[in-house]
C-alpha cells in the first residue's frame, strides 16, 4: 500500500510538472508535502525516539494523524487563493484533508495501512509566494452526524464524540522507558505514573445556548492557523514535529482524574505546556509560539 501511495505521489508530481497539463485551462496543480518527525528524526511506526520531553523519555509512538483545512496559497500581490482539493473519497473532502503518518504496523495497530503525507489540488495559474492553512476541521463540518460523514470524516479514530466533532491532532505514544529521574521536589509517587502520553487536540466547551441544538460556537475552538510568507511549493515541505511540542512535558506522570497526556479539556495540568507550544490559549493561559509546524 505504501509503495502504491508513493507511486501515486510520483505520478502526481510528474503530471503536476508537465506544462501541457496546465495549458488547457488556466489552473495549475499543487501538492503540499508534509513530513512527520520527532525531534528531527523521521517518524515511523515501531521506531523508538528519545530523549523526548522534560523527562527525557524514550517513546514508542502508536498514532500520528491530523486534519488540515482551508489551505491557501498567498499570491505576490497578497491575495489568498484557496487550494481546490481533489476529492479522493479517502483523505480529501471539500477543503479538508487528513494527514495520516502511521501505516497501521507494529504498535500503530489502531491505524490504517494507507498513509497520506500531502495535500493535493489546484489553484488558478499565478505567481505564489506563501502558504497558509489551518490545523483542524472547519466548524461547519465539525459538528455534523459522524455516522453519515464521508471519508476522511468517517474515521472513528478521529472521532471526538464526547465533546462533539473530530480530533484535529491525534498523537499517541507509549513509553519505552524513562532515562530521567523524577524532577526535583517530586516524590516518585507525587503524580500517577503514566504508561503513555497522548495529544488529542479538538474543540471544547461547545454547548449551545439551547441545549438540544447543535452547538453554534465553541469557547475553545482550538484550531491552529499556520502561515508561511515564503513557501515555494516545489522546493519546500511542511515539517510536523511533535517532539518540540512535548519539550516541557514530563511524559512519565499524569495528574489523577485527568486525561492521559493532554486531550484539550480545561483543568488538565499536562495541557499547559502542550497547548502553549501549540500556540493556543488554554484555561486562562496565553498562547505561546507554536512549535509543531516548521518549513524546510
Amino acid at each position: 500500500m505504501k509503495t502504491f501511495n508513493r507511486l501515486c505521489a510520483a505520478l502526481w508530481l510528474a503530471c503536476a510538472s508537465w506544462p501541457a497539463s496546465v495549458h488547457a485551462n488556466e489552473t495549475q496543480t499543487v501538492e503540499i508535502r508534509f513530513t512527520a518527525e520527532i525531534n528531527g528524526q523521521p517518524f515511523a511506526c515501531g521506531r523508538q525516539y528519545g530523549p523526548v520531553g522534560a523527562s527525557a523519555s524514550t517513546i514508542l509512538p502508536t498514532d500520528y494523524r491530523m486534519f488540515v483545512s482551508e489551505a491557501q496559497l498567498i499570491a505576490r500581490d497578497g491575495r489568498r487563493v484557496p487550494i481546490h482539493l481533489t476529492e479522493d473519497k479517502l483523505f480529501q473532502f471539500e477543503n479538508i484533508a487528513l494527514l495520516d503518518f502511521e501505516d497501521g504496523s507494529g504498535p500503530c495497530r489502531n491505524g490504517t495501512p494507507a498513509v497520506n503525507t500531502s495535500i493535493r489540488g489546484h489553484v488558478p495559474k499565478g505567481d505564489y509566494l506563501g502558504l497558509s492553512f489551518v490545523i483542524g476541521v472547519p466548524f461547519a463540518r465539525n459538528h455534523g452526524d459522524p455516522t453519515l460523514a464521508p471519508a476522511p470524516l468517517s474515521s472513528t479514530a478521529m472521532f471526538w464524540t464526547w465533546q462533539g466533532g473530530y480530533k484535529f491532532i491525534r498523537f499517541d505514544t507509549g513509553l519505552a522507558g524513562s532515562d530521567a529521574k523524577p524532577a526535583a521536589g517530586h516524590a516518585p509517587d507525587a503524580g500517577h505514573a503514566a504508561t503513555g502520553f497522548s495529544i488529542h487536540l479538538g474543540s471544547t466547551r461547545c454547548a449551545s445556548a439551547a441545549r438540544t441544538q447543535a452547538p453554534s460556537a465553541c469557547l475553545d475552538g482550538n484550531r491552529m492557523a499556520i502561515q508561511f510568507d515564503q513557501f515555494d511549493v516545489a522546493r519546500h515541505q511542511v515539517v510536523v514535529d511533535v517532539g518540540a511540542v512535548l519539550a516541557e512535558s514530563d511524559l512519565t506522570r499524569n495528574t489523577p482524574k485527568t486525561s492521559p497526556g493532554c486531550m484539550s479539556f480545561p483543568g488538565d495540568p499536562e495541557c499547559i505546556p502542550v497547548m502553549r507550544r501549540l500556540g493556543l490559549a488554554y484555561d486562562g493561559a496565553p498562547p505561546g509560539e507554536q512549535r509543531l509546524i516548521t518549513r524546510r
Binding site: 472513528t156 464526547w162 449551545s208 480545561p266
Partner: protein
Amino acid sequence: MPATHSTVAAARRRRANPAATVLACLLMLALGVLPVIARSSYDWGLPQGMPEPVVPPDNPMSDEKVQLGRHLFYDRRLSRDGSIACASCHQQERAFADPRRLPSGVDGQPGERNAMSLANVAYLPVLTWSNPMITSLEVQALIPLFGEHPVEMGMSGREQQLFEGLRTDPVYQRLFPLAFPEEARAGDARLYSLASLTRALASFQRSLISFDSPYDRYRYRGQSDAISVSARRGEALFFSERTECYHCHGGFNFTDNLVHRRQPLAETGFHNTGLYDLDARGTYPAGQTGLAAFTGARSDMGRFRTPSLRNVSVTAPYMHDGSIADLRAVIREHYAKAGRSANSAGRPSPLRSELMVGFELEAGELDDLIAFLSALTDERFLNDPRHADPWKKP
C-alpha cells in the same frame, strides 16, 4: 434462536402477503415515501393515551431494525477483545442499568459514570448524565463503541474489522438486508456501515418501552388496588410541596427531560442537587463537573440530567457516580438533608438547586416513599423475551 426466527418471520408474514401490497410498496419506494409508511406501521405497543416517541426522520422504526439492533446490543464482538457488549452494562433484569457503581472498559480502565437505565429512553431529548450535545441515540452509541477517555468497548480505529466481522456472520447476513433493504441494494459498504450499525442499535433501544408497572395500572388504567395503601401514601408524599420530588421527577416518565409526538419542543432539566461541595463554592470533584464541562459556565457546575425513576428500585446504585448504594440512603441521607453535602463546607452550596429544600419524615413515611417508588417497577419489562439476549441458546 427460535424467538428471533418467529418474530422476524411474523413481521414478514404481516407485510408480504398480498401481491397488491408488494406492488404498492414498490410504487411508494419509487415515490420515495417509504420512510413515512415504515414509521406509521411500527407498533410501539403503547397503552391507550401514551404519546408516541419522536424518531429521527432518517431512522424510522421497523421490527427488522429492532431485531438487528437487539442482536448487536447483545453481541460482545462489538468490543475490541470480545469481552463487552452493550448489555454488559445495560442489563435487562436491572431495567437496562448496571448494578456496579462504575463500569470498566476492555482495558480494565474504570468508567466515570454509573450506566443509566434505558427504559423509555426514546422519550429523552438528551442522552447521558451531563452532555447536552448528545441528542440522538445514533450518535450516543459512538461514545461507548469508540470513546477513548475512558476506553469502553475500545473499537476506535477498528471499524473496518468490525464491519468485516458482521459481513461474514450468517445471522447478520440475514438480518442486515432485512433491516436496511435500500442499503443492501447499494452494496456491502453501505450495508455494513456505521450508519446502519448505530441506527439499528438506536431502534432497539427505542423499542424498550416500559409502561406496565403497578403504578401505571393504578394511575392510568383505573385499577385502584394495583398498588398498596402504603404506596398511595408514598405517592402523595412524592407529589407534595414538602418533598418537592416531582418538580424534577415529574410527568409520565418521572423526569423533566421529555420529548414526544404531542410535545415536540423538548423539555430538558439539569440540576445540582448538592451531592458534592468541595469548597463552599459548590465545586464538584474533578471529572464530575456535569454540564459545566460543556458550557464552561460556573453556574452549571454539578448540574446533571434528571434520570427517569421508572423501575428505580432495581437500578441501584444511584447518582451519576453510583455513590449511593440504596434508595433509602438516597432519600434519607441526600434528599431529606437538602443534598448530601449541604453542611460539608459549613453552609449549603451556592450552586445547589432551589428545589432542594430538605424535609423531615415521620415514622413510616420513608417506607411509604419506598413503596411508591417500588410500584414503578415493570416486571413484565424486566422479563420481556422481546428484549432478551437473542444469542442465548435455550
